[in-house]
């Protein structure tokens, strides 16, 4: 299985994702520079976290129009799994591969801490290593993670099982107090209609091995690698 990590100027989680993919895949991912319009055939594309293009205009807005993203959009339409983490989620929304938008955190502050997530749907290629309803811990590190979409879009996401993760308390309760950034309906990660594109604000790659302080993120990379092998 071949994977690619997209690298923009300002990406800063690309190497972390590279390490996580290497561990789960047992193969070296391709690091794809944003200016490359040509992307070799791969089975998985990860758009990593960071501050692509300095978050100019809006987080993810510039990266969404970079040459490589046109190719990523074509691959996503062809069914290739695409995982967007943090800034990658923002990029995928700005590129129109996922619905909605990520706005400034409701509390206005940059948030960098572990949060609890409830796995809302474990029947996806990205989350099959978890159980639906399972509570996992992952770090968030963002200023613009406040997920927003109109009510009809939110209803559709919920009705179609396209909410992958929600912010929750340690016991799994989805409460306002457990919502770090004001996201609509505590949404932390969503899927596209076809189920092959996932965007999420928390960072599974930052808790993907014991040396990092936890392994809850590891199942994410194992899931997608298992699904594709």
């Amino acid at each position: 299985m071949k994977s690619a990590v997209i690298v923009f100027p300002g990406s800063n989680c690309d190497r972390d994702v590279q390490v996580a993919l290497r561990a789960s895949l047992g193969a070296e991912p391709l690091m794809a520079w944003h200016g490359d319009a040509a992307l070799p055939a791969v089975d998985l594309i990860v758009v990593p976290g960071g501050f692509s293009y300095g978050d100019y205009l809006r987080a993810g807005a510039m990266a969404a129009h970079s040459p490589v993203m046109r190719e990523v959009a074509l691959r996503a339409a062809a069914g290739v799994p695409v995982l967007g983490i943090c800034n990658g989620f923002q990029v995928l929304c700005e590129a129109g591969l996922l619905p909605g938008a990520l706005m400034r955190n409701a509390g206005l502050k940059f948030i960098c801490r572990d949060v609890h997530l409830r796995v809302d749907n474990a029947r996806t290629i990205f989350t099959s290593g978890y159980a639906t309803g399972q509570v996992v811990r992952m770090p968030v590190a963002h200023a613009d993670g406040n997920y927003n979409a109109d009510a009809a879009t939110l209803d559709a996401l919920e009705g179609e099982g396209r909410v992958a993760f929600r912010y929750c308390a340690a016991d799994g309760a989805v409460t306002e107090a457990a919502n770090p950034n004001g996201s609509a309906r505590n949404i932390a990660g969503i899927l596209n209609a076809a189920g092959n594109v996932l965007g999420m604000m928390p960072h599974p790659e930052r808790l993907a091995e014991a040396a990092l302080g936890g392994t809850d993120g590891r199942a994410m990379f194992d899931s997608v690698c298992t699904a594709l092998v």
């Binding site: 706005m103 409701a106 206005l108 927003n148 979409a149």
Partner: protein, 80 residues
């Protein structure tokens, strides 16, 4: 020809930055501030001299890049 683009959050979309500015204005003693909404202002110099075409171009720019129409509205003013 200069076009001026105003980008604002759609009504109904919460604006935490606007709220923070409102609180700061209150703190400075400016009474009677009922609401603050923050937006972006972008000036673009176009080679185009036909106002209608300049507007059309600027609106296309807004739709494709300058505004995120999920959460933002835009207004284009065409000037000299």
């Amino acid at each position: 020809m200069k076009v001026r683009v105003h980008i604002t959050l759609k009504s109904g979309v919460l604006d935490p930055q606007g709220k923070a500015i409102q609180h700061a204005l209150d703190g400075l003693g400016f009474a009677g501030v009922d609401g603050v909404r923050q937006g972006k202002y972008i000036e673009i110099d176009l080679a185009e001299t036909d106002p209608a075409k300049a507007r059309e171009t600027a609106e296309a720019m807004c739709a494709r890049l300058l505004a995120n129409t999920v959460i933002e509205d835009y207004r284009v003013d065409v000037g000299a």
